[in-house]
Amino acid sequence: MDAVAYIDPAVAQFVNDTFVPVRIPAADPELGPRYKVKWTPTMLLLDADGNEQYRTLGFYPPEELIPSLLLGMGKVKFNVPDRPGACDCFGKINAEFPKSSLAPEAIYLNGVANYIETHNVNNLIGIYDRLEAEYPDSPWLIRADPYKLLKK
């Protein structure tokens, strides 16, 4: 991560602007066990009380790290719930990183968040239609499969 992702200008700016970046050795005798760190890199989003809100691990290239962190932040907001804020995060993934492996999940979650806000089934139908059109090989299309039955 140090040699590739963290020195990428877009990543550095995004992380500095969006989060408080904290770096801890995985072998830290107190924090490693507390957060059940078994592999590096393990990346967490924590609230100010230290509660884990999102976790991912393994190497990310720059063009995948930002979408991953946007996805995590979107899930945090979804759970607050701050669904408009969540939709902003998911929407940025789809607008700015459409080639990301996380883009199909962002479409799914964006549609779900919009549906919960509006109760408009077109949001669910839209998930299926967009995934079918743009990401037909994604497993997220399988998860959206029931929504095609909502079409009249």
């Binding site: 991560m1 970046p21 801890i24 009380d49 809100q53």
Partner: protein, 32 residues
Amino acid sequence: MAQINWITSFEEGLAKARADNKLAFVDFFNPG
């Protein structure tokens, strides 16, 4: 060169997260 402004104190990081109303992005890494 672009760089992330890492904080290396966990407690300091959480305090800043509270003050800035942000999430903390915590990277558990292997110093090698």
